[in-house]
Amino acid sequence: MQQFLDLLTLPPVQRSGVALLLAAIALPIVGVFIVGLDIVAVRFAVMHVALLGIAVGFLTGLDPMLCGLAACAIAGAGVAPLAQRPSGLPGAMGLLMTFAIAGALLVLSVSGVNATSAFELLWGSILATRPVDLVVLAVLAAVIHLLFWRYRRPLALLMFDRELALCSGVPARLLMLVLLIVVAVAIGASIRLTGALLVDAVTILPALAARNLGHSLRSMVLLAVSFGFAGNVCGFALALALDQPPGPVLVLVAGAFTLVTYLLPEGAFNASTAARQDDDRDLRGAVPADSLRQ
């Protein structure tokens, strides 16, 4: 126990803890967007897009990480028009990934930079979190929360049905553009900040768990943040207590939470209290079959 408490006094561990808390506050919301848009493969696509941006950075002499994030933003904006097709986005992620990896390898070849060293720049670790990373995460968290809480109703309509959103006066094209840029930049930055493995634990897994239990976009976001928070705190504490690398432990803990939601009977938590009350009222008001026979 004393060893565990001693670990918590180390500045890198403290920074990691703060980074995980910031990630838990914001990134599960990005996960909800990803699950809602059916673009779970976005992580792989964005990783390769960021690699392309880094390669361009090496070639031009600009900051590689800034170029990587800019490439993510451009890619997000680039696939936005495909969202107008009903099945456009999931396929677009595969296309984007293929184009990006081919482009990145070509640019790296031209610039004479080893692909492995470019990948190393992209893949971070939660224990190597720097103070500047915390600032980036905090800004990301603020932008994501602002986007969600300011445009919660239009987003709910857009993710339910694009045509309904259009007919309700939602600027669907613009909102989708902003949404995809935020998702791409958030994922690109998170891979650098937390490592590729942890991105899933703090984005997709809480969102999948929340989708199994939530009955509205708002409740899903609140549940996703709760799952993200619980998974990160428990996973990080367990990793420190067991003296194991935090990445795999965090993913396993978040995965276990998500698995439990799949094992719950369908509708056990899904129907809202109000809905259950409606059904109970209906049942109480139903005429008994025996009385109909008399």
Partner: protein
């Protein structure tokens, strides 16, 4: 606030799905406040014609005027969609849950939409996600939303088979509600009771408007 009914004019409208033509040079003028039923066999282009009014299906040729105005650009389409209430045919619940109350809240006048939900017998479902409703309940909710849009200023109602999933009593109730609506109404329907309440019946066959 209730908007004034707007005329809807279809001028040589052509709509395509790839190489096949779904709507073939349709000309139709619906006067302000007139109620028109569009009937015809499945696949004759009725729904496509209605969706084209809202810009949900692109025009390959021709034009559609609502209130004498064509819709161009983002602001033009937003104004068009604000002026036209819509009851869709396929009520496919999305990948994400949406509460009935959230859907009614998207009407121009949410209070009227919620009151209309009461009139249509679905007021007790406000906290329910749409995907837990039956087809008939869902149709009533979308009708309530459309009535909220009309009350909020939309001058036109487009309803695509609004009574298809309703029971007999519901069909009569909705037909009576739409007949009393102070708006231009274009309703696609196979329901004869609904068609009889309209001022005129237009029949589509193989993409062409046969009788108007």
């Amino acid at each position: 606030m209730t908007g004034s009914p707007q005329p809807v004019v279809f001028r040589r409208v052509v709509c395509r799905y790839g190489r096949s033509i779904a709507v073939k040079r349709v000309d139709l003028t619906v006067s302000a406040g007139e109620h028109v039923a569009v009937t015809g066999a499945n696949g004759s282009g009725k729904s496509t014609l209605l969706r084209a009014v809202l810009g949900l299906h692109p025009l390959a040729a021709g034009d559609i005027l609502v209130g004498g105005e064509s819709a161009n650009g983002t602001s033009g389409w937003m104004a068009r969609r604000r002026n036209v209430a819509w009851v869709p045919q396929r009520l496919t619940p999305g990948r994400f849950p949406l509460l009935v109350d959230e859907l009614l809240g998207s009407a121009i006048d949410c209070d009227v939409a919620r009151d209309s939900a009461g009139d249509l017998g679905v007021a007790g479902l406000l906290r329910r996600p749409l995907h837990t409703l039956s087809g008939g309940q869902l149709q009533r909710v979308f009708l309530a939303r459309a009535l909220g849009c009309i009350a909020g200023g939309a001058g036109v109602l487009l309803a695509d088979e609004p009574t298809a999933a309703l029971d007999f009593a519901g069909q009569e109730q909705v037909a009576a509600m739409l007949a009393a609506l102070p708006a231009t109404v274009i309703v696609v329907s196979h329901d004869r009771a609904m068609s009889r309440t309209c001022d005129r019946i237009a029949e589509m066959a193989a993409g062409r408007l046969r009788i108007a």
